[in-house]
Subunit: 300 residues, 4 copies
């Protein structure tokens, strides 16, 4: 299945501003990339429109989590970040590791231990008791991890207006409302509290073979590590999906902001799309209703 | 100057427990190490005493921050962690980078950008306004960094009883009381808010050529990055000191816990010492009163 | 000056729900009331529209702060709360107690001491140090109180989207954005920290002799107690205004919610108006631009 | 049963300080008072000892909750607060309202509605979901209230060192450790979330007919309102006790501090005792072991 993802993000900057962006696909996706252009940043001078744009010099680097990051310095005025990619994605929805046992901490690779630690938005020093109360009775491993994801999905309501940059997993636990990242932060914190390595993911998750659900955006989900690999989980959608395209992973949203501006940057345009396309590059129409997805159980 | 550092930490474990420890010296200290033995972990069976101890197998690894970490699985019962080192430390107290300018974000090496991000105990998404109000008027760079350190030192009172694992920089800002780590977390958060890369440090800071100040412990301080290197800062002691011995650095205390136990571990003994010794290995007596330290200004 | 205030608030209730409302004018306003009808609550049966409404029985009571509260039990379905009043308001804007000294705690009437305590949204146990740092240098009394109000007005940005029910004064202090109540909570907390009794107020503050500023709503402001009386202050608008009509006062917003529903109540309509009228009951047109208001200094 | 309660509390004040104290017995206890002297405050001049003390003038007032409060202004120097009382307490331990139904909100007396609101340390705007998850399945009324109390008692550990003035119910919920007041705050917040009116109580709870449990102190417990009256509950001790002597009630600890000093007051001595005495005024010896208490079920 071919997935074309693209973005067009524009800011107006009152002053010269260094910016870090994580907008290229994750290096691990490369084997499936059919076509991709790098992040392109154009600048339009001090005027507010984008005409006469000139391309800015962008430097790439790999951060400590293996993400492909970009940095550049934008002069005052209007800037525009664009990029697109086509990946050949699996025809099967998110694989399910049913019945997988918990990997004991002692058997975890050392570089995974960081995904058991507290982080900015996942204050696991605050939720050990809660996690044990709610999920201590489940079988450690996939069953427990899935119970956490299901609980978060059931208890937290989605509301765009309930987003805020300071919101932590425990805020979500008490307020019971949030956006994508909030669902995942709570699920991550509860998972780590039970010694399940969990990390935050940003990427594309378009309406692929599911009915149209509104304007596109970047998506957040999370991954748990069981049986020697990471498994995609999604506290918000909580159903196996097709067409996730990985951009970045980190301990939580603090590590993988789409853009970090070291100065004022006023968002003026934001368009993100991720669609299935056919061999001719035409978008495949979406179904009017949810059709039954195939189930991909890897461990039964 | 020779500094001998040593520790003897004992736990009683009700059950078999994986443990991660950061107790060996930092790899960057190696050129100055005169003698050092690795972390030694002994176990004494299910009985509560330490007789008949047997040595456990300890595996070393380097974490994402470059720290030398250790991991082992301890059977139920009493365990004892010991180690010691002698380093040939500088005769000069912490160098002062007076008047150094702020390095613009765009000129920072990419691997330092993480030290501008929010982290578990340094919620810089909450303190930008505070930092600008209090320190916006200082000259960016050393002057501003030193003003932050001085302010934290002046406003926060030290009290061992005010420690708690969930305490964040903003808690310290409002409660105005804490232990070592709390001073540093607040100073780090305020520094990062003004685009000064700042990281948390654990290590030894004994009473070296200063009067005896009580039983030894590990210490925490922090570092800011200016002019191409890290500079030691210490919101608690706030005076140039001799004999800091680096163990680990990270974004904040969440990254560099002395020990992290994945299970219950009851501390039964804790002894940490760091002293100046002479060529014969004898501890150098401490002065009865503070004597004037030499000043090491590297940039004037 | 005649001020007509009126509201029309409608809810849809999935189930029978007890409700407490604070919507009648405050008893202390009575001497200036020209006309007023009590809160009227109508019910429209299980259908979602309001036709065929029948009036519900409403019981009044005075709460511990002296507010005139109402309680009733609404059956499932649509309900509508309406009311209106005309008061003969002062022609002069909020009086200014310039130079008034702080009343020492020992001279405060005993029933005012509660307005020095911490409350749900004004955690003064967290902001003593902050208040002393920022305002300790001002002359205790009006000058200090006004400095607090001015600071809050300057530092906090208004944004309807930044409202949330759990937001406290310290959240406002760190996030620097909020709605009416948030400005007042922060100002109240800082005032109390410096021993200035401060209480939260809800009421009407229409666009009276100022240009139109958008659809009407209830407003929140606060009062400080100096020289034997309460003085209106407003951290959001921060300019002397005409036509404040008092509904309720309390320690903070927790005490004086417009409506408190003990069950789910979905708001379906909300209209609040407060306008100057002439002797014939016609709304007085608003000026196109701000005209200079008279200044009412009571203590110089 | 005769209970003699007494206190001797001393402070050193660097400067003249207004103080409010709530140290006299609650007015509702009066019918059972055999003997009681009012709070006595002595002052010893600028010297640090208490010799040559002179008695200060103390003014009593009743606060908005019906508590008998005292206020006075203490000159700089040492002050001493003393008082004692003898009450004729019930021979039966705390009555149990087993099976009592919840009183619907609509049937609550209006002056009880305040005990359903959020307050400083009981942020019920944050714990509705938690309360429904944990206790939604219990029968509303005594059964649910007792389930909350039992849960708090089981999940929270007592530790004097875990006290801090800013600790809220949700902090206790996450940290799972605290002192008397913390247990009660969490239980109150959870109770109110389920529409059970709950208030905080301070008073004496000595070791009465139970084994000695350490030096005396004031105690905190809470009360829930069911079937037309308040019932004592105690999340910390969680067993029916003899000899509770009521001093004050409020929404939470913010309302009923033993002493509130408007300035620095250094505690130099603190002694509180509450003991059973015989007719001759001699302390009745305590049992070496817990004996079975009679059960006082008022509703079965």
């Amino acid at each position: 299945m071919l997935i074309r993802s693209e973005f067009d993000i524009q800011f107006y900057l009152p002053a010269r501003t260094p910016i870090v962006a994580i907008l290229n696909l994750h290096p691990t996706v490369e084997p499936r990339v059919v076509a991709a252009d790098d992040l392109r940043v154009e600048h339009a001078g001090p005027a507010k429109d984008c005409e006469g744009a000139t391309q800015l010099c962008v430097e790439d680097f790999i951060d400590g989590f293996g993400n492909r990051c970009s940095r550049f310095v934008a002069p005052a005025g209007a800037i525009r970040l664009t990029g697109s990619s086509i990946v050949d994605a699996s025809e099967m929805p998110d694989p399910q590791g049913l019945n997988l046992p918990l990997t004991p901490v002692e058997d975890l690779p050392s570089d995974l231990l960081q995904f058991l630690l507290p982080s900015r938005y996942c204050e696991i020093d605050r939720c050990g008791g809660i996690a044990r109360d709610l999920f201590g009775g489940f079988k450690p491993g996939w069953e427990q991890a899935a119970a956490i994801r299901d609980w978060v999905h059931e208890k937290v309501a989605f509301n765009y207006k309930a987003a805020r940059p300071t919101k932590t997993a425990m805020d979500v636990f008490t307020e019971r409302v949030g956006v994508c990242r909030d669902f995942q932060h709570l699920a991550i914190a509860l998972s780590r509290s039970l010694n399940i390595p969990a990390r935050y993911v940003t990427g594309y998750l378009g309406d692929i073979r599911v009915p149209y659900a509104g304007p596109g955006d970047f998506s957040a989900w999370y991954q748990v590590w069981l049986d020697g690999r990471w498994w995609d989980m999604d506290g918000r959608h909580n159903e196996p999906r097709l067409g996730r395209v990985l951009v970045a992973t980190g301990r939580d949203a603090a590590d993988v902001a789409i853009t970090t501006s070291y100065g004022v940057a006023n968002l003026t345009h934001f368009c993100v799309e991720s669609n299935e396309i056919d061999a001719d590059g035409r978008a495949v129409p979406l179904p009017a209703a949810v059709t039954r997805m195939p189930v991909q159980v890897e461990h039964a």
